[in-house]
C-alpha cells in the first residue's frame, strides 16, 4: 500500500468517525442552542439507539438493519420527548446547572437500564450483508459500510440543515434560540417545539449510535465514551451553531484518527488541547457568533437555605455532636466489631472535603467547575509522587498536593474565568480530560495501572508515627495505625471546614456572596469580580487537591480513575444534594451520597438506577438541597403547622451575622 492510499484510508476513517460525531454534536448543539440545556444524557440516548437497533435487527436478520435504522431512532426520539416533557421541562427558567445535574441523573438511570436488559459486556452487532464487503473506488479498496456511514451522515446533516433553514419549524426554532419570550409573545406555543427539538436531537443521537454500533460493537460504555468528545465538538464549533457542529465533528473525527496513526502520543490529548486553545483565543468557538443563548439566561441559581428552621446555635450544637460521634466511631467500631464503618467514614470525610471545595466556587462564586476532579486527581498523584520520590511524610505530601493544585487552579482560572458560564464549565472539563488522558501516557505516573504500594509516615524528619508499626493497647481497645490515620483525616477535614467558614465570613467571602447575589452590582461598587473568582478557584483547587492527597495517602495508591469525569459529576451531585452555598450542606450531601451508594450497591444490582431516580426527583422537587428540608417541611401546609408551633421560623440565615 502506498503512502497516498494509506493516508487516504486514514482520512476516510476519520470522516466515518467524524460523521458519527456530526450527528451526535448536531443534536446536542440544537438542544443547547434552543433550550440552553447541556444534555449529559445525550451519550446514553446514543447508546440506546444502538441497543434498540441491535434488538430489532437481530431477530429480523437480512433487511433488519434497515428497519432498525428507521425504527430505533424514532423510538429514541419518543424517549427523548418523554424525557423533555417529564423532567427537563420542569427546570426551564432555572440556571443551566440544574440541567447538567438532571441529565447526569438520567445518565445513571438509562445506563443501568441498558446493562440490566442487555448485560454488561460488549456485543457484536453485524453490518448488513449487502454492505459487508470492500468496494474499489478511485483505485483503492475500502469498506462499503464505511462509505455508507459517510453517505447516511451527509444526508442527515443536509436534511437537518434544510429543516432548520428552510422550514417553518426551523424558523421558529432559530427564533426561539434568539429570543424565546418574543416567540412566545407572537402566540407560538414554544413549549411544544422544545419537546419536538429534544426528540429530534435524541433521534439524531440514536442514528449515530446505530451506525457506530455496527462499525464497532454495542456496549454499555459507548455513551460514556462519546459524550465528552461530543461536548468538545459543540464547544469548538460554537455553542448552538449547526455549522460549527458539522465542521467540528468532521474535524475532530479526522484529527483523532490521524493522531492515532501518526502521533500516537497525542491521541486523546490533541482534541482537548485544541479545544482549550480555541476557547482561549476565541471564546465563542470557531463558528459561534455570540456567547450563546446560555449567557443571557436569567434563571436563578438556587442556593441552600439552611437554618430557616434550625437556629445557628442549634446548627452549631448539631455540628459539635456530629464531630463528637465521629471521634467516638473507632471505639464503637472496635467494640461492636463493625470495623468496616471506619473505612466508609473515611471515604465520606474525603468526599465531604472535596464537596466543600467545590461549594466555594459553585455555591459562592457561581462558577460551574465541570472538571473539578482535575484537582482531586492531581492532588492524589502529586502526593503519591512526593511520598515515593521526596519524603515519606504525609504532611509534606499533602502540602505539595495543595500547592500544585492551587497553582494549576490559578493557571486554569487565569485562562478561563474571563470567559464566563458555560465556557468556564467546558474549559475545566477540557483540562480534566487532558490530565486524565495524559496520566496513561507517562511512565512516571504509572500509565493505566497508576502508582501503588506507598508507605506513609505521620511526622517530619523521623519524628512521628509509622502507622504500620504503631500500636497502643488500651484494655479492650487497640489504638493502632489505622486509627491514627482516621483521626488525622478527621482533623484535616474539620480544620478545612473551619478555615472555609472563616474565609466566607471575612471580607473575601462577603464579596463572593455579593458576586453570587449580583455580579454586575459587585463590579459597579468597585470589586474586581474576575480577580475574586480566580482567588476562590485557587482556594477551591487547593482544597480539592488536599482531598485527593488524603485519599491517596490513606489508601496508598493512585490510578487514572481519580481523574475520570464521573467524579466531577458526582461531586456536583453531592454539593447540590446537600445544599450549595452553605459549606456544611455539601458535606452532608457527600455523607448521604457515599453512604447511600455503599448501602444500595451491597443490596441491589440496580443501585445506579435507584440513585439516578432519587437524584432526578431531588433536582426537580428539592433544588435547594437537603439542608432546605426543614424549611420545606415547615412551609408545608399540613406538616408545617406542627413544626411552626415548636420553632421560630422568622430568623433568616445570613452567614455574616450569625
Amino acid at each position: 500500500m502506498s503512502v497516498a492510499t494509506a493516508v487516504a484510508e486514514q482520512v476516510l476513517n476519520g470522516l466515518v468517525v467524524g460523521m458519527v460525531y456530526v450527528l451526535l454534536a448536531a443534536g446536542l448543539s440544537i438542544i443547547f442552542g434552543v433550550m440552553d440545556v447541556i444534555n449529559f444524557a445525550h451519550g446514553e440516548l446514543f447508546a440506546l439507539g444502538a441497543y434498540f437497533a441491535f434488538a430489532i435487527a437481530g431477530p429480523l436478520g437480512g433487511a433488519g438493519f434497515w428497519v432498525a435504522l428507521v425504527v430505533a431512532p424514532l423510538l429514541v426520539g419518543v424517549i427523548g420527548m418523554a424525557i423533555e416533557r417529564l423532567t427537563v421541562k420542569r427546570l426551564y427558567g432555572r440556571d443551566p446547572l440544574y440541567h447538567i445535574l438532571l441529565t447526569f441523573g438520567l445518565v445513571l438511570i438509562i445506563n443501568d437500564l441498558i446493562t440490566s436488559v442487555w448485560g454488561k459486556s460488549a456485543q457484536p452487532f453485524p453490518i448488513p450483508a449487502a454492505l459487508d464487503q470492500p468496494i474499489a473506488l478511485f483505485g483503492f479498496t475500502y469498506s462499503m459500510y464505511n462509505y455508507a456511514i459517510i453517505v447516511i451522515g451527509s444526508v442527515l446533516a443536509l436534511g437537518t440543515w434544510l429543516l432548520l433553514s428552510r422550514t417553518q419549524f426551523g424558523m421558529i426554532i432559530r427564533a426561539g434560540s434568539e429570543d424565546r419570550e418574543m416567540v412566545r409573545n407572537l402566540g407560538i406555543n414554544i413549549d411544544r417545539y422544545y419537546t419536538l427539538t429534544f426528540g429530534f436531537g435524541a433521534a439524531l443521537a440514536g442514528v449515530a449510535g446505530i451506525v457506530l454500533g455496527a462499525f464497532q460493537n454495542v456496549s454499555p460504555t459507548m455513551g460514556n465514551a462519546v459524550i465528552i468528545p461530543a461536548f468538545v465538538i459543540v464547544v469548538l464549533g460554537g455553542l448552538g451553531s449547526f455549522r460549527g457542529a458539522v465542521a467540528g465533528g468532521l474535524f475532530v473525527g479526522l484529527v483523532q484518527t490521524l493522531a492515532r496513526t501518526y502521533t500516537p502520543f497525542l491521541e486523546g490529548l490533541i482534541v482537548f488541547l485544541l479545544m482549550i486553545v480555541v476557547l482561549v483565543v476565541k471564546p465563542t468557538g470557531l463558528f459561534g457568533t455570540s456567547i450563546g443563548a446560555g449567557e443571557h439566561h436569567d434563571g436563578a441559581l438556587l442556593h441552600g437555605a439552611g437554618g430557616g428552621v434550625l437556629s445557628s446555635e442549634t446548627r452549631a450544637k448539631l455540628g459539635y455532636a456530629a464531630v463528637g460521634v465521629l471521634v467516638l466511631v473507632p471505639f464503637l467500631a472496635e467494640l461492636t466489631g463493625v470495623t468496616y464503618s471506619v473505612t466508609l467514614l473515611e471515604d465520606i470525610l474525603i468526599w465531604a472535603l472535596f464537596a466543600l471545595s467545590l461549594d466555594l466556587v459553585l455555591g459562592y462564586a457561581g462558577l460551574v467547575s465541570l472538571g473539578h476532579t482535575l484537582f482531586y486527581g492531581v492532588g492524589a498523584y502529586a502526593s503519591v509522587l512526593t511520598l515515593i520520590h521526596i519524603s515519606p511524610s504525609v504532611f509534606v505530601a499533602l502540602v505539595v498536593a495543595v500547592i500544585v493544585c492551587a497553582a494549576i487552579a490559578w493557571f486554569v482560572g487565569y485562562l478561563s474565568i474571563r470567559v464566563s458560564g458555560v465556557f468556564f464549565a467546558m474549559i475545566t472539563l477540557g483540562f480534566a480530560e487532558l490530565f486524565y488522558n495524559a496520566v496513561f501516557k507517562f511512565d512516571f505516573t504509572g500509565g493505566s495501572d497508576g502508582l501503588f504500594g506507598v508507605d506513609v509516615f505521620y511526622g517530619l524528619a523521623g519524628l512521628g508515627i509509622d502507622p504500620s508499626e504503631f500500636e497502643i493497647p488500651l484494655g479492650l481497645f487497640v489504638f493502632d495505625g489505622g486509627i491514627v490515620q482516621y483521626y488525622f483525616l478527621l482533623a484535616v477535614v474539620v480544620g478545612s471546614y473551619l478555615l472555609a467558614r472563616r474565609l466566607i465570613r471575612a471580607p473575601f467571602g462577603s464579596v463572593l456572596q455579593a458576586i453570587r447575589e449580583s455580579e454586575d452590582r459587585a463590579s459597579f461598587i468597585g470589586y474586581d469580580v474576575t480577580a475574586y473568582k480566580r482567588r476562590a478557584f485557587v482556594v477551591s483547587g487547593g482544597l480539592a487537591g488536599l482531598a485527593g492527597g488524603l485519599f491517596a495517602a490513606n489508601n496508598g495508591y493512585v490510578a487514572p480513575s481519580f481523574l475520570h469525569w464521573i467524579n466531577s459529576g458526582e461531586v456536583i451531585v453531592m454539593t447540590v444534594l446537600g445544599g450549595m452555598g452553605t459549606l456544611y450542606g455539601p458535606m452532608i450531601g457527600a455523607g448521604v451520597f457515599v453512604a447511600a451508594e455503599d448501602i444500595l450497591s451491597s443490596y441491589i444490582d440496580q443501585w445506579q438506577l435507584v440513585i439516578g431516580v432519587l437524584f432526578v426527583l431531588f433536582v426537580i422537587f428539592v433544588p435547594r438541597g437537603l439542608v432546605s428540608l426543614p424549611q420545606t417541611v415547615a412551609d408545608h401546609p399540613t406538616f408545617g403547622s406542627v413544626v411552626r408551633d415548636q420553632t421560630k421560623v422568622t430568623e433568616t440565615e445570613v452567614e455574616q451575622h450569625d
Binding site: 471575612a506 456572596q513 459597579f524 455574616q656
Partner: protein, 254 residues
C-alpha cells in the same frame, strides 16, 4: 474656568457598520446636574456604557478627574469615584440592608486590608467600614431597617437602598441610568426627591427620556441625536433650540 470632572474627546462607538456614538465631545462641570437626553436609538445607553466602562470605545477617550480612564474596567472607574445606579433595582437581595451597604463601603477600603484581614478577619468587625456604613444608612433613611433582608423591602425602600449602595462607594460623580423608568408620576417624584436629598452634593449625569423630568431637575442638558450631540445648554436654551424642536420634540411630543 475649572477643569471639567468628566470629559469625552471624539468618543465613538461602532457596531459593525452602525455608528452608535459618533464623535461625542462632552464636558461635565464639577457639581452640576447634567442630563443626557435623546429619542430612542440616539445612543444614550451606548454612551452610558462607554462612560461606565461596560463597553470600550472604537475611538476617542474618556477623562475623569483629569485622568484618562478609557482603558479602565468598570470596577476601577468606580474606585476612582465614578459611581452608577441601575435602571432596574440591582441590590444583593438575599443579604441584609446593612450588608448591602457594608459591602459597598468595604469596596472603597478593602485595598488597604492586610491579607490576614482580607481572608480571616470577620467582615463585620472593621470599624471604619462599619462607621461609614452607619453614616450612609442614616443619610439615606434606612437606619431602622439595617437587619431586614433586602428582598423583603417595599419597592420604594429598594430604590432607597439602591441609591444608598451608590452613595457608600463615596462617588464624586454618579451616572444615573433612567432611575425612574417604569414608575408612576408619584414614584418618579419620590425617587427624584431621594436623589436630590442623598446625592445633591455630587456631580450627577442623568440618562433619561422623560423630557418634563429632565427640564425640571437639570442644570444643563445635552441632546443626542443619531449618536452625535445635537444641542447643549440650560433647559431653557435647549427647549428653544429649533434643531432640537425639529428632531426631538417634533418627533415625540407633537
Amino acid at each position: 474656568m475649572t477643569e471639567p470632572i468628566l470629559q469625552t474627546t471624539n468618543l465613538t462607538k461602532e457596531f459593525g457598520k452602525l455608528v452608535a456614538v459618533d464623535d461625542v465631545n462632552l464636558e461635565v462641570e464639577r457639581g452640576e446636574f447634567r442630563s443626557l437626553i435623546g429619542p430612542n436609538g440616539a445612543g444614550k445607553t451606548t454612551t452610558f456604557n462607554l462612560l461606565t466602562g461596560a463597553l470600550r470605545p472604537t475611538n476617542g477617550t474618556v477623562t475623569f478627574n483629569g485622568e484618562d480612564v478609557t482603558g479602565l474596567p468598570p470596577h476601577e472607574r468606580v474606585r476612582k469615584g465614578l459611581g452608577r445606579s441601575f435602571q432596574i433595582t440591582n441590590i444583593f437581595s438575599g443579604l441584609t440592608v446593612r450588608e448591602n451597604v457594608r459591602l459597598s463601603a468595604q469596596a472603597a477600603q478593602h485595598e488597604g486590608f492586610r491579607p490576614t484581614e482580607e481572608f480571616l478577619k470577620r467582615a463585620n468587625t472593621f470599624e471604619e467600614v462599619n462607621a461609614h456604613t452607619q453614616r450612609v444608612l442614616d443619610r439615606s433613611g434606612l437606619s431602622g431597617r439595617g437587619e431586614e433582608v433586602a428582598d423583603n423591602l417595599a419597592y420604594g425602600d429598594k430604590r432607597r437602598l439602591e441609591i444608598a449602595i451608590v452613595l457608600a462607594t463615596d462617588p464624586d460623580m454618579v451616572l444615573l441610568d433612567e432611575p425612574t423608568a417604569g414608575m408612576s408620576a408619584e414614584e418618579t417624584r419620590a425617587t427624584m426627591d431621594l436623589i436630590d436629598e442623598v446625592l445633591s452634593d455630587r456631580t450627577l449625569l442623568l440618562i433619561e427620556h422623560d423630557i418634563d423630568l429632565v427640564m425640571r431637575v437639570s442644570d444643563h442638558i445635552t441632546v443626542l441625536h443619531r449618536g452625535a450631540i445635537l444641542a447643549e445648554g440650560t433647559p431653557d436654551e435647549v427647549s428653544e433650540d429649533p434643531e432640537v424642536r425639529r428632531a426631538y420634540f417634533g418627533g415625540v411630543e407633537a
